[in-house]
Symmetry: C2
Subunit: 173 residues, 2 copies
């Protein structure tokens, strides 16, 4: 079924990475992180971890550990993962892009002093997630941010085409 979902940030609390990502969940008695699956972050994460075949990420800034771990987990489980990012931002302190490359994920960047300013991803070539939200903790618990998640073909198709265009354009020969 066709759906649109809109998420707004900030959330009240940082999400618990164990709760969201480990098979055993979180066993801490008084965990200070959020175990709330109704939070915007948990809903965003849910979409990422439902990926079965592919994650195409096109993201200006990636420092959020939980989201980076989710992508790495999917990659290790066999999903095709492609990352397009910004040349300057990928080299800043705290960026997780180096982890992606170290683990074998192919990363391409704009090689431009302008910004690769997109903040979208495509899951299984079926769902697009887009908005103002960079993958940072400030975006989760500080900033005012929005994320739209949809599988509507009038939205999905152009984002998928743009992803493929940029992926080719940023290839280093």
């Amino acid at each position: 079924a066709v759906f649109h979902k809109v998420l707004f940030f900030p959330d009240q609390k940082i999400p618990c990475q164990r709760y969201l990502l480990s098979p055993q969940g979180c066993a801490r008695k008084n965990c200070s992180y959020s175990h709330d699956w109704s939070s915007s972050f948990a809903q965003l994460m849910k979409h990422v971890i439902t990926a079965k075949r592919s994650i195409y990420l096109c993201m200006f800034s990636v420092t959020c550990n939980e989201l980076a771990m989710a992508v790495l987990q999917k990659f290790r489980q066999g999903a095709v993962v492609r990352v397009i990012t910004d040349t300057e931002y990928m080299n800043l302190n705290g960026s997780r892009i180096a982890d992606f490359m170290n683990q074998g994920i192919e990363v391409r960047h704009d090689r431009s002093s302008y910004l690769m300013h997109h903040k979208f991803l495509i899951i299984d070539e079926k769902v697009v997630v887009t908005g103002s939200f960079n993958w940072t903790h400030a975006a989760v618990i500080g900033n005012n941010e929005n994320v739209l998640v949809t599988n509507h073909p009038d939205v999905l198709d152009p984002y998928l085409a743009e992803y493929k265009k940029l992926w080719k354009m940023f290839k280093v020969n």
Copy 2:
């Protein structure tokens, strides 16, 4: 009819403000700016200038002269214009927010060191425009950016509700 439109940037050339905004158009013989209505920028501008009753802007950075002029034109023609923006960015060099306030447009801001990072607007409470695109010239002709324009109620309604929520929240008593 329900529609979705997706625009990608950068465009090739800076748009011609006279061509887009003045009733007489642009009479320059060899105008070096873009007169191309099919450009992403012109399509974005088209939506702004179709506003009849209201423009609710929720924008992190506003330095683009053409878009600011379009909003001011609509305001002078009697549209309700409300602006929500970021406290630090509104005071940076080049920001057009001061012009908005000087002309009588009500501006509210987050009064927070976190970012009011949204980049959306709502036209006539009927169409939402959202994405990665700040209102800057770099976004038009330099950066990789995306903008989604839609009147689908599953998208419009939550953005409109969030706008109204933030408008109240950022009111100074």
